[in-house]
């Protein structure tokens, strides 16, 4: 057994012993049943927090785009990022946090909301995407308008229909809060709250959200039984018909394409960023990881189910000048193939990621 193994073993043992000791204390002390659940939650929280947050590249994955060497992940920096992610103070009226539209159970997408739903009950124009594996994403947003992970939070914070706040004012609000003063000092080694520290801490939180634990991943790492026969058929179809854009292992090639949703698209998509005609109605190819957890689908959230999505590619691709040539005429898929494809897409859910308590709201 390696030294690391021994240390880990001892840690687990200590954790177990503490859990037992604390449970005994709780049971002996109050006897109240309600508090047992509460104490158990707090214990789980404590034990989970010992798993230090870190950033690791899964085996066989490419080099990430975001370089953590300029923003080393620390326990305190990560904890601060986590606090900020769940803090509605980042919005103008204290109503809306990042987590309002990025829910962990939905792989940090906005479950059941076609477009993001922000402050004062306003709707945005695009579907809030899941958040995971962002360190590999060269640009963010459906149109790739944000080029760097660190500055990404500035967009929803200042968008009038999302959080409608200015970063300047957020920094002022946090600077007036003694607990934040303490958290920032702990995260960066000296007192001071500014936008750079805020953004770097948030990046430590969202940038370390790595999702590579689906059954599909276990299958590709040499566990043939991780996928059923139907799912394996679906994977073969996926590789033949879908993976030219949804490239493995991240299940996106990070390009921008028009997938034929409309003959006369209303949202100009990437053209708003590049001002190039050829980018009209092109949107970022999203990763399909956790896709079964992130309905609805497409940049405008028009489809509620994976079946509808697959049917779109097979039956309803609309021609338009910027339609991706690979989709012209649609993708030929019979009923059995569609079912296999959907079965495969459902194997892409990473249950461990969506239940990782380090990414849930902290109890304070």
């Amino acid at each position: 057994m390696s030294v690391r193994g021994i240390v880990a073993g001892v840690r687990v043992w200590i954790a177990g012993a503490l859990v037992a000791a604390l449970l005994v204390a709780v049971l002996a002390g109050t006897g109240a049943r309600a508090s047992i659940g509460n104490a158990r939650d707090r214990l789980i929280e404590t034990v989970e927090s010992w798993r230090a947050p870190s950033f690791a590249v899964p085996a066989g994955w490419p080099k990430p785009v975001y370089d953590f060497s300029g923003n080393p992940v620390t326990r305190a920096g990560f904890a601060l990022g986590r606090r900020l992610f769940y803090d509605p103070q980042l919005s103008r009226d204290g109503s809306t946090s990042c987590a309002s539209c990025h829910q962990q159970f939905a792989a940090f997408a906005h479950y059941d909301h076609p477009v993001s739903h922000g402050i004062r009950n306003q709707n945005g124009t695009r579907n809030a995407p899941g958040l995971f594996n962002l360190a590999w994403q060269p640009a963010l947003m459906w149109d790739g308008s944000v080029h760097h992970l660190e500055v990404q939070p500035l967009a929803p914070i200042s968008n009038p229909v999302e959080m409608d706040e200015s970063i300047e004012h957020v920094v002022a609000k946090l600077s007036a809060d003694d607990t934040y003063k303490k958290d920032f000092a702990a995260a960066f080694g000296s007192p001071g709250i500014d936008s750079q520290r805020l953004l770097k801490a948030m990046t430590q939180f969202v940038g370390t959200m790595v999702s590579a634990g689906s059954r599909y991943d276990r299958y590709t790492r040499g566990e043939p039984d991780a996928l059923t026969a139907t799912e394996r058929d679906g994977l073969a179809l996926f590789r033949a018909r879908c993976a030219s854009c949804h490239a493995e292992p991240l299940l996106t090639d990070f390009s921008y394409r028009n997938n034929g949703l409309d003959a006369a698209p209303r949202d100009r998509g990437r053209e708003t960023v590049t001002a190039k005609e050829g980018d009209f109605a092109r949107f970022r190819v999203p990763s399909l990881r956790n896709v079964a957890l992130t309905p609805p689908y497409m940049h405008d959230g028009r489809y509620d189910t994976l079946e509808q999505v697959v049917d779109h590619y097979a039956d309803t691709v609309q021609p338009s000048p910027t339609l991706d040539p690979q989709l012209a005429g649609g993708v030929t898929l019979d009923a059995a193939q569609r079912a296999a494809l959907v079965a495969f897409l459902k194997s892409l859910s990473d249950e461990r990621f969506v239940h990782d308590r380090r990414y849930a709201e902290a109890r304070r």
Binding site: N71, V146, V151, A155, S166, D194, S195, A275
Partner: protein, 265 residues
């Protein structure tokens, strides 16, 4: 980078005296510079008269315009030596040093020290209006580059290099608003100003100041004057190219000034 390039330049110059000057200026890194850093003083004018926010003027296209905000970044300062080589200060990717945000609402922002330069004579100054592409894409920054300064686009990544806002009866926008924001990759512009009449001297005990006139009217002028009736709202990179090409003409050297430096502690 400089450690490598300087010997090459020295060989070309073939001057030992020059070498001593250069090494004194560049060597050590941590040591205090031998001479006071040149100061750049910007005199913002409108066609020869002092430029002021909230005062109506007439543009070269004959339109009335009242500026309410004028802010721009200057960066990438380097000085040209008499022999044609450049003194280029070291930059630190982690620091916003060398990036200056000039704000017409804050007169103090129009006068600032340039990076300390080695003792010698210089024939010109080059700088960038705006923020360079690498820094534009480098993530969260501090100081002059703090996004809280209001010069960073949030709906798309990138610094606003140059921001001119105001009102004009020519604008069809609500409240006659004029919003000219030039920003994003590829839209900073480099300006070279030649010290035509005499060189800039950097020496111990001497405080050199470069007085530069920034004629805001020239932004609206040129061969094809800017018409606010047509161009009143520009807030994205691709449509700002014609505007970016205008701000280069804003700057001209008025005069250089050398005076005894205050005794340094």
């Amino acid at each position: 980078m400089h450690a490598l390039s300087f010997p090459v330049r020295l060989a070309a110059a073939g001057s030992l005296a020059m070498a001593a000057v250069l090494l004194a200026g560049c060597g050590g890194g941590g040591s205090a510079p031998a001479a006071p850093a040149p100061v750049l003083e910007l005199d913002q004018v409108w066609a020869g008269k002092p430029f002021a926010l909230n005062e109506a003027v007439t543009t070269p296209a004959g339109e009335e315009f009242t500026a309410t905000r004028l802010r721009y970044y200057l960066s990438g300062f380097r000085l040209r030596r008499a022999d044609g080589t450049w003194f280029e200060p070291k930059t630190d990717a982690q620091s916003s040093e060398g990036y200056v945000l000039v704000d017409a609402a804050e007169p103090a922002s129009a006068k600032f020290a340039l990076p300390a330069a080695p003792v010698g004579e210089y024939s010109g100054l080059e700088f960038r209006v705006g923020v360079d592409d690498p820094r534009n894409n480098a993530g969260a920054q501090t100081g002059a580059l703090d996004p809280a300064k209001g010069m960073f686009w949030t709906w798309t990544t990138g610094y606003i290099h140059f921001k001119l806002e105001g009102r004009s009866p020519a604008s069809p926008e609500p409240e006659q608003r004029v919003t000219l924001h030039v920003g994003g990759d590829g839209l900073s512009r480099t300006v070279y100003l030649l010290f035509a009449t005499k060189p800039l001297k950097v020496a111990e005990g001497l405080q050199p100041t470069i007085h530069v006139v920034v004629d805001v009217a020239s932004f609206f002028g040129g061969e094809v004057p800017l018409k606010l009736a047509d161009t009143h709202t520009v807030m994205d990179g691709p449509h700002a190219v014609p505007l970016a090409d205008r701000y280069v003409g804003l700057f001209r050297v008025d005069h250089l000034h050398h005076e005894p430096a205050a005794a340094r502690p």
